[in-house]
Amino acid sequence: MHQSTVAVRPVSTAQTRRRRIDLLPYVMIAPALLAIGLFSLLPTFYGMVISVYRVEFVQLLRFVGAANYVDVLADPKFWNSVRISFTFTALSMLLSVSLGFGLALLANQSVRFRSAFRTIALLPWVTSYVVTYLIFRWILNADLGLLNAFFVETLGWSRIQWLGNPILAMASLIVVNVWRDAPYAMVLLLAGLQGIPQELYEAASIDGATRWRSFLSVTLPLMKSALLVLIVLTTIQDFNVVVAMLVLTGGGPGTATETMSLRMYYEAFTNARMGTAAAIA
């Protein structure tokens, strides 16, 4: 791109060249670039600055060097939250990507009702985190919830404290998160699957490949980049999930579901320790 401009531009004196600089593209880009620079790139750098200060309310009080980081790293709660974050993110991501891939393969078969199916499956994805977790908090409610009603009334079990037991609470969070994310994975991967030319499968079957074989040698290699993109996206997203824990468990019971992102949110906006929060981030 650059080279062609240079080649076309006639050799000229400095003066005429200055007049020739086309300002319009810069003017057109300016609003977006300025906005992103000031309110997206700058805050990232500013965050690094904040993390080495003691911050009182929103004033940077004094420079404390690495003290915020030392505090954070010495805090067992931080390491607890790291462990929880990784567990939650890894399991959520693996489950929603694999489930989404399975569903995409299903929906890619020539079956009827496919588009109706896709519409219904995407409803959870359109729903906001707050609404999703609100509804599930009701369904998982130990005393009145639908799930326990099923277990107690139909199966005759005793009530299960879905959100009161550390392991069950984590499992509930993951399942609800997968419920919301798997359809998203499905739609993305389905778009990828439909981009694979049908001829490749025909060629494979002429060569005597079984369906499993052509899945391994045609589908998987061609879907590799889409899967990779999805894995990266889902991982980032799951790592940042705050609302799930805020609404469903509040990080509890105890700190059993307190992820790094939730811990940062609490530090900053409940404990008003912005410097610490920035260091966690």
Binding site: L41, G47, V58, L123, T127
Partner: protein
């Protein structure tokens, strides 16, 4: 995958291979299994909403009955009235206002920036593109605290402007990326012809490129609207007063402050979800196109 093609009007069905047999074949076991799984997924997607809806129509006595009865009897709209009394409508209006303005601003600044990046050659275009796209790689929470402090210093906490500004900045990178990809695929001849006729480049963008890009514009608009409407974390720190809170913040605060009244919570939740649900059902294909294009950004 890396080239963002916005397959907006792509037909979903591929022609089914017609079986040679004269009689229509019965459902094979494999197909039956597929339908069974599809049905299961559909039920699991719908059931929570159905249950929330049924709960929202029940009188308080029945909401707190265990075992719960499935159908509300008598049916009541009381929960919805209560939600409105507690400020649901204002919260919905705030969400709507913020999201709509954000969409307009994103489309304006986005297409303005995407056009030169797609069509013009100028020094620094690669750098500009790079700077615009970096934020997509930075996880949102990293910026939460610094953004809060900056907004506090600018006096923009608890204002529409502040929230709109943040949402605008958040949505711009993806919008520019999608629009740029779409602009590049438009046939260049029309623009050349207009340019020969003496149209300025801004005029070309406004009268030729923008109308031709309606599918992409719609997809971006829907995605941005959905993201702004559903966003909670930023809204929760930016809007502290009752007057300014968005619908998502309203839900969270009524849940924690008042103590949970489940019938009313389900009513508020569903009412909050209704606009995006309706948009989604009406414009499903555009949504999917936006979602697909948006995610293939990397």
């Amino acid at each position: 995958m890396s080239t963002t093609s916005l397959r907006v009007e792509r037909p979903i069905e591929r022609p089914t291979p017609v079986p040679r047999r004269a009689t229509r074949p019965r459902l094979s076991p494999g197909q039956a299994a597929i339908y069974a799984v599809m049905l299961l997924v559909a039920i699991s997607s719908l059931l929570p909403f159905v249950w929330a809806f049924l709960t929202s129509l029940k009188v308080e006595r029945h909401v707190y009955a265990f075992p719960p009865q499935i159908l509300p009897n008598p049916v009541t709209g009381y929960n919805y009235l209560q939600a409105i009394n507690h400020g649901l409508l204002l919260a919905l209006f705030n969400s709507l206002f913020v999201s709509l303005i954000t969409v307009v601003l994103v489309l304006a600044a986005g297409s303005l920036a995407a056009y030169p990046l797609a069509r013009m050659t100028f020094r620094g275009s690669q750098l500009a593109l790079f700077l615009i796209l970096i934020p997509m790689m930075i996880p949102g929470l990293v910026n939460l605290v610094p953004t809060y402090i900056i907004m506090a210093k600018l006096g923009l906490l608890d204002t529409y402007q502040g929230l709109i500004l943040i949402y605008w900045v958040h949505s711009l990178p993806i919008a520019i990326w999608v629009l740029r990809g779409f602009f590049q695929q438009l046939p260049k001849e029309l623009e050349d012809a207009a340019s020969v006729d003496g149209a300025s480049r801004l005029r070309i963008l406004w009268s030729i490129v923008v109308p031709l890009s309606q599918p992409a514009m719609a997809a971006v608009a829907l995605l941005v609207f959905l993201n702004s409407w559903n966003e909670f974390v930023i809204a929760s720190i930016m809007t502290s007063s009752v007057l300014m809170r968005t619908a998502q913040v309203f839900l969270y605060t009524t849940m924690t402050d008042v103590g949970v009244n489940w019938g009313e919570m389900m009513a508020s939740g569903l009412a909050t979800n209704l606009p995006v649900l309706a948009l989604f059902l009406l414009l499903q294909r555009r949504f999917v196109a936006g979602l697909t294009a948006g995610a293939l950004k990397a």
